[in-house]
């Protein structure tokens, strides 16, 4: 077994992609088998046209969004991270932050081989916790903790998870790379002021590639003009 680093790295990528594909196919089949088995088991007669009409709107809305989002997440959390995140969901509020803060902790860059590993580990751990909490809640603790969690005094806290999370995530990265941050922030803020924050949020998936491209474009311009200070070890590829 004398493989070169590149061969090992390719072998790992193949393993992840095969594992991701196979587990995705099985999960998908299992997910769809739930309504299928129930429909057959209870001999429920369904109106297919109505199902398609109702699902059609959702599909038209969510399918393009899913494509744009997955392509946007990929460079940050890697293929393994995307396979895992798409199965358990809650990407923006849990999986992405878990992966980013894991990478920051480990001192590795998103998109590097090390970054991809740390992403997979963080996202899998996060999935595990959410699934376990929901399981426990359904069986036992849900009845007991819901009255506390629904207390009006706590509502502002739950309503503001996203801004709090973003504040904690964004700040260290912005301070670390002020120059790269200027363009995407200026553009996003301008968009919100011009079109309204609500509108931008609703069509976030469609603005996402736009802002990401602009951000990369500006970074490339500064990189070519040698306006960015690169750490000596940056760009090493393993």
């Amino acid at each position: 077994m004398n493989m070169t680093d590149t061969e090992r790295s390719r072998a790992f990528d193949d393993t992840i992609n095969n594992l991701g594909r196979i587990t995705s196919i099985i999960s998908l089949a299992l997910m769809l088998s739930v309504p299928l088995v129930i429909t057959l088991f209870y001999k429920i007669e369904l109106n297919m046209t109505e199902i398609l009409a109702a699902a059609g709107g959702l599909i038209a809305m969510f399918a393009p969004m899913a494509v744009v989002e997955n392509i946007s997440y990929y460079p940050i959390i890697g293929a393994g991270g995307v396979y895992l995140s798409c199965i358990t969901g809650n990407i923006m509020n849990m999986k992405l932050p878990s992966a980013l803060s894991g990478m920051k902790l480990a001192g590795v860059e998103p998109g590097s081989s090390e970054g991809d590993i740390v992403s997979i580990l963080s996202i899998a751990a996060s999935s595990f916790v959410t699934v376990s909490i929901l399981m426990l809640s359904m069986f036992i603790i849900g009845k007991y903790i819901t009255p506390y969690l629904s207390k009006p005094i706590l509502q502002p806290a739950f309503a503001n998870i996203m801004p709090a999370l973003l504040g904690a995530l964004v700040t260290p990265f912005v301070i670390k790379s002020v120059k790269v941050s200027v363009t995407p922030f200026a553009l996003s803020i301008a968009l919100c002021l011009a079109l309204g924050g609500g509108f931008v949020q609703r069509y976030q998936s469609y603005f996402l590639p736009l802002i990401m491209l602009a951000s990369v474009g500006a970074a490339y311009y500064m990189y070519r003009g040698r306006m960015l200070e690169l750490k000596p070890d940056m760009g090493k590829s393993k």
Binding site: F12, L149, A168, V170
Partner: protein, 238 residues
Amino acid sequence: MNYLEVANSNTMFFMCALVVLFVMLQAVLFIKVAWKRGMEIGIERPVMKKAMTNAALFSVIPSLPIVIMLMVLSVNLGQYFPWLRLSVVGSATYENMAADIVAKASGLAGIADPGFDIPIFAMSMWVMSVGIIWGIVFNIFFMKSLDKFSKKAKESKSHFIPVLSGALFIGMLALMSAPYITNTKNTTAIVSFISAAIAVLLCGKASKVSGIKMIDEFSLPISLIVGMASAIVYTSAF
């Protein structure tokens, strides 16, 4: 027969549990593969452990609103199907919206309408399942090619690659943050954002000054709680 008898049946429980267990197995398989590869490329064991503990701990807080949603949805959809939907791909807002669309398409006022019967329940299950699977479908067909293509590009060993992924995720975070920062009508969100930002910086400082690495390692969960708590304090004070 009432639809809730179907929704709370053993068949339903068994089918849902099967999916949830498989999703947990998937997470374990990914951890195994990633851990092995992490050791191979020289990421230290404690670093990987740290990333996972951080992700696990952090994920507890954003899971709590999902518990509330589980309790809310189970009133009308029985306890098992919402458990499945929220454990796998679903998000609180999506599930509510999808179930509501079906109820309205069937001429009811909403999911709490007394006219909600077994066929409508089955239809909800189908629509909720089919509407949200597109990220997974995309991964099955295209993720491997996307990964291959982008890994090839990375082999150029350009120094721009780390700058590129940095610019991509700063772009994403900027677009997500802007609607909160610019919404002067919702000052609570701005307060949460800023408090969490300050907290994360203080955690970094405190950790450096005191030499206690733990503070920096758990800066994300700590800052998230600080941001959420400030929302409570701010709303009750003003």
